[in-house]
C-alpha cells in the first residue's frame, strides 16, 4: 500500500547552502601538506599506533608510490588531483566523547545544521561522528553494548580489540588492491570498527557521519565491520562537505565480514560537494549462507569511483548491490559492482539505476566472476540509465567472466529518456514542467529508493528534486 510522502514539494533550502558553511579551523595536530614517510610517522606518533600499524602504513605508502594512476581505464580527470597540495591528517587532538554534553559547541552546531541530534534521538542505537579525521563524538548506547556489540572508532578498535581487529584488517581489501586503497592504508584515520557477536541481531541501524572542514584536506576513514555467525546488522553512512575552490579528496576503505548465516547491510547516501574526488574501495566477504548487501546512493562529488563488491567465499553465500546515481553538470558518477563467486550455489544480484542531468556523466562498471570449477551460481544484473538533457551522458562497461555450464547469469541494460508525451500528460493535470520531471525521475528510481530506510528515502527524493530543478527550460 501507498506509504508515500509528497513527491512534489517546494524546497525551501538550497542544497548548496546547507553544506556551505565552515568554522575557523582549530586543528592542534597538522601533518602539513604533501605525503612522505615523515607524514606517516607523524600520524603514527600522534595516534600512538602500535608498531604493527606503523609498519602496515609504511608498506602501504611504498605501494601507493609505486602504483600509477589508473587513467588507462579510468577518467583522466584523476590527473587533477595534486597529492602534494593535500593535508593528510588534521585533528583537534581530542579523544572521542561519550556524552553529547562534552562535545565542543561549534562541532555540535555542525551536526545540528545537518540534523544529527534529532536523528540520534529518533531511533539510532548509537552515533559515531567523525570531524576532520578524528571521531569528535562516539557513543554506544546501553542496549547495544549490553548485547556485546563493539562500536568504536577504528583507532580504538585496533588498540583495544586487536585480537578481533587484526585478523581481518587488510584481508578483505589488501593494501595493493588499487592505488587508493594503498593511500588509505598509509594514512587512514577515523572510520568505525564494529563487531557483532554470534546470534546477535542489532535491531536499530548504526550510523556515522563524516565531514571535511579544512581546505585541501582529505578524508581517509577506514571501516571494518565483522559479524559473527548468525549476527545481523544494518549500518548507515551519509556525508556532506562544504565547498572550496580547490579539490578535496575522500578515499575511504570499507571492509565487511559476514560469518556463517550472518546478514550485513551497508547503506550509503553520498552527497559530497561538487569539488570532491570520492574514491572509495568497499568490499565484503560472505561466508556460508551469509549475505552482504550494499545499498548505495551517489548524488554529490565531482568524481565518484566506487564499486562495492562481495566475495562469496562459501556455499550459499549471497551478495547484492543496489545502486542509485545522479550526475549533474560537472559531475561524473563512476559506479558499479564486483561480484566474485568463490563457492558453489552462490547468488549475486546487482540493480543499478543512474540519472544523467545537464552535462553530467554516469558510468556503470560491473564485474561478475564465476570460475569453471563451480556449480550452481546465479547472477542477475540490471542496469538502467536515464538521460534527461541533450548533452547528458552515460556509459556501461560490463566485465562478465563466467566459465562452466552449470550457472545462470543474466544481464539487462537500458538507456532511456524522459518521454515528452509523459511530461505533457502530467502538465495537463496541473503539474509544472519541473514537477513533472521530478515525478518522472522519482518514478524511475522508486523501487530502489524503497530499499532505504524511511528517513533516507524522504531525504533522497528531496535531494533529487533539488538536482532536477535546474534541468528544465
Amino acid at each position: 500500500m501507498d506509504e508515500e510522502t509528497q513527491t512534489v514539494t517546494t524546497i525551501a533550502e538550497e542544497k548548496d547552502t546547507v553544506g556551505d558553511f565552515t568554522f575557523p579551523e582549530r586543528n592542534k595536530f597538522d601533518a602539513g601538506y604533501g605525503l612522505s614517510e615523515a607524514t606517516v610517522d607523524y600520524i603514527s606518533d600522534v595516534k600512538e599506533d602500535p608498531d604493527w600499524v606503523r609498519e602496515f602504513r609504511k608498506k602501504a605508502l611504498r605501494v601507493f608510490e609505486e602504483k600509477p594512476m589508473p587513467t588507462h581505464w579510468a577518467t583522466k580527470d584523476l590527473e587533477a588531483i595534486d597529492f602534494d597540495a593535500i593535508r593528510y591528517y588534521l585533528s583537534d587532538g581530542e579523544r572521542p566523547k561519550k556524552s553529547w554534553d562534552d562535545v565542543p559547541d561549534d562541532i555540535k552546531e555542525t551536526f545540528d545544521r545537518l540534523g544529527i541530534p534529532e536523528q540520534e534521538r529518533a531511533f539510532l542505537a548509537g552515533v559515531e561522528a567523525q570531524f576532520d579525521s578524528e571521531a569528535a563524538y562516539s557513543n554506544v548506547k546501553d542496549a547495544v553494548s549490553e548485547q556485546g556489540v563493539i562500536f568504536v572508532t577504528s583507532a580504538e578498535g585496533l588498540k583495544e580489540h586487536e585480537e578481533i581487529f587484526r585478523p581481518w584488517f587488510g584481508k578483505v581489501i589488501p593494501t595493493s588492491d588499487n592505488k587508493f586503497s594503498a593511500l588509505n592504508s598509509a594514512v587512514f584515520s577515523g572510520g568505525s570498527f564494529i563487531y557483532v557477536p554470534k546470534g546477535v541481531k542489532v535491531s536499530h541501524p548504526l550510523q556515522a557521519y563524516f565531514r571535511i572542514n579544512s581546505e585541501n584536506f582529505g578524508q581517509f576513514e577506514r571501516t571494518l565491520i565483522i559479524l559473527d555467525e548468525g549476527a545481523e546488522l544494518t549500518y548507515m553512512e551519509g556525508c556532506t562537505a562544504p565547498k572550496f575552490g580547490t579539490p578535496t579528496l575522500h578515499s575511504a576503505v570499507v571492509e565487511l565480514v559476514a560469518m556463517k548465516d550472518a546478514k550485513l547491510q551497508y547503506i550509503t547516501v553520498q552527497n559530497w560537494s561538487s569539488n570532491v574526488f570520492n574514491l572509495v574501495t568497499k568490499r565484503g566477504i560472505a561466508h556460508e549462507n551469509a549475505e552482504v548487501r550494499w545499498i548505495d546512493c551517489n548524488i554529490g562529488s565531482r568524481l565518484t569511483m566506487k564499486y562495492p563488491g562481495v566475495v562469496m567465499k562459501e556455499p550459499g553465500a549471497r551478495g547484492e548491490v543496489v545502486s542509485i546515481a545522479l550526475a549533474n553538470d560537472g559531475q561524473h558518477q563512476d559506479t558499479g559492482a564486483k561480484m566474485i563467486h568463490a563457492a558453489d550455489n552462490t547468488t549475486s544480484n546487482v540493480v543499478s539505476k543512474s540519472i544523467s542531468v545537464g552535462e553530467g556523466r554516469s558510468t556503470y562498471r560491473g564485474q561478475v566472476h564465476i570460475p569453471k570449477h563451480l556449480k550452481g551460481c546465479v547472477n542477475n544484473t540490471e542496469c538502467d540509465a536515464l538521460l534527461i538533457n541533450a548533452k547528458s551522458k552515460t556509459d556501461t562497461y560490463p566485465a562478465i567472466s563466467v566459465k562452466g555450464n552449470q550457472h545462470q547469469t543474466q544481464h539487462e541494460a537500458s538507456v532511456s529518456q524522459v518521454s515528452e508525451e509523459q511530461i505533457f500528460y502530467m502538465q495537463q493535470r496541473g503539474l509544472s514542467e519541473a514537477a513533472a520531471m521530478s515525478l518522472s525521475v522519482n518514478g524511475f528510481i522508486n523501487d530502489l529508493v524503497r530499499e532505504f530506510p524511511m528517513e533516507y528515502s524522504v531525504e533522497l527524493k528531496r535531494l533529487i528534486d533539488l538536482e532536477m530543478e535546474g534541468s528544465v527550460g
Binding site: V8, R429, S440
Partner: protein, 250 residues
C-alpha cells in the same frame, strides 16, 4: 461563462490542420464533435491543452474570459481545463494515488497541504462509482492497464480534479458496453451548471449514454454543421459524405 473558440488556425510541422474553427461551449452544456478520420478532432483537443508540437497561427480561445492561449499547459489545467486523452500515458514508478495527490496539491494555495484523509476517501468513493478495484491506487499510472482501464482512469482523474471544462477525446474507443455505461455514468454525474463538456467521438453509440445538448460536425479542420442530438443519428445513418455533399457548391 464559456469556452469560446474563434477562427482557430493551427498547424503541425507546417501542415495546417485547424483551418478557422469556431465553437462555443457554455457552462452547463455537453457538446459533441463528430467527424471522419483526419478531420482534426484530436488536434483540436491537443491545441486546446497546449501541446507544443502545434503552432497556433490565428484565432483566439477564451475560457471564462481568460486568454487560454496565453497560458502554459499546467496553468490551463489549474484554471479548470481538463483533457481526457485518447491514448493515456504510462508513468512507471508513480502510483495512481501519488499522481492524483500531486495534481490536487498543485491546485492548493501556496503553503497549504491537501488533507490526506479526505483525499483518500474521495478517491475511494469515485473508484467505487466507476467500478474500479481499490488495488489501482497503488499501481503505477496506467502501467499494464487495458485500454478500457486507461479510459476509466481518465474519468477518475476528471472526477477528482472537477474541471470547469473537459474535453473527452474518443473516450469510447476500446470500451465494451459495460465499461461504456460506467464511464458515461461518471461523466453524467458531473454534468452541472458549473461545467462544460466537449465529447469528441467517431461513433454515435457513446451519445446514447452521454446525451449531448449540441452536436457539431467537423471536417477538414472546421466545424461545418451544428444541430441537436438528432444530428448524430442522421450522421450514423447517412455517413459523413452526406454532410460534404450538402455543403458542396451546387
Amino acid at each position: 461563462m464559456s469556452l469560446s473558440i474563434k477562427n482557430l488556425h493551427a498547424n503541425i510541422d507546417g501542415t495546417e490542420i485547424l483551418k478557422g474553427l469556431t465553437l462555443d461551449i457554455p457552462k452547463g452544456e455537453v457538446h459533441a464533435i463528430m467527424g471522419p478520420n483526419g478531420s482534426g478532432k484530436s488536434t483540436l483537443a491537443k491545441v486546446l491543452a497546449g501541446h507544443e508540437d502545434y503552432e497556433v497561427t490565428d484565432g483566439t480561445v477564451s475560457m471564462d474570459n481568460q486568454d487560454l492561449m496565453a497560458m502554459e499547459i499546467d496553468e490551463r489545467s489549474r484554471a479548470g481545463f481538463f483533457l481526457a486523452f485518447q491514448y493515456p500515458m504510462e508513468i512507471p514508478g508513480v502510483s495512481n494515488a501519488n499522481f492524483l495527490r500531486a495534481a490536487l496539491q498543485a491546485r492548493m494555495p501556496k503553503g497549504e497541504d491537501l488533507d490526506a484523509v479526505e483525499f483518500y476517501k474521495m478517491m475511494r468513493d469515485r473508484m467505487k462509482q466507476l467500478g474500479m478495484d481499490e488495488k489501482f491506487t497503488g499501481r503505477a499510472v496506467n502501467e499494464g492497464f487495458s485500454g478500457g482501464e486507461k479510459k476509466r482512469n481518465e474519468i477518475l482523474q476528471m472526477m477528482m480534479l472537477a474541471p470547469s471544462y473537459a474535453v473527452l477525446d474518443e473516450t469510447d474507443s476500446g470500451l465494451d458496453i459495460d465499461a461504456l455505461k460506467v464511464v458515461s455514468e461518471g461523466v453524467n454525474a458531473m454534468r452541472s451548471p458549473a461545467s462544460g463538456f466537449l465529447v469528441i467521438t467517431h461513433y454515435q453509440r457513446l451519445l446514447d449514454y452521454i446525451v449531448p445538448d449540441v452536436v457539431h460536425v467537423m471536417t477538414d479542420g472546421k466545424i461545418v454543421k451544428t444541430g441537436g442530438k438528432e444530428l448524430a443519428l442522421e450522421l450514423e445513418e447517412k455517413g459523413y459524405d452526406w454532410v460534404k455533399d450538402e455543403l458542396a457548391p451546387a
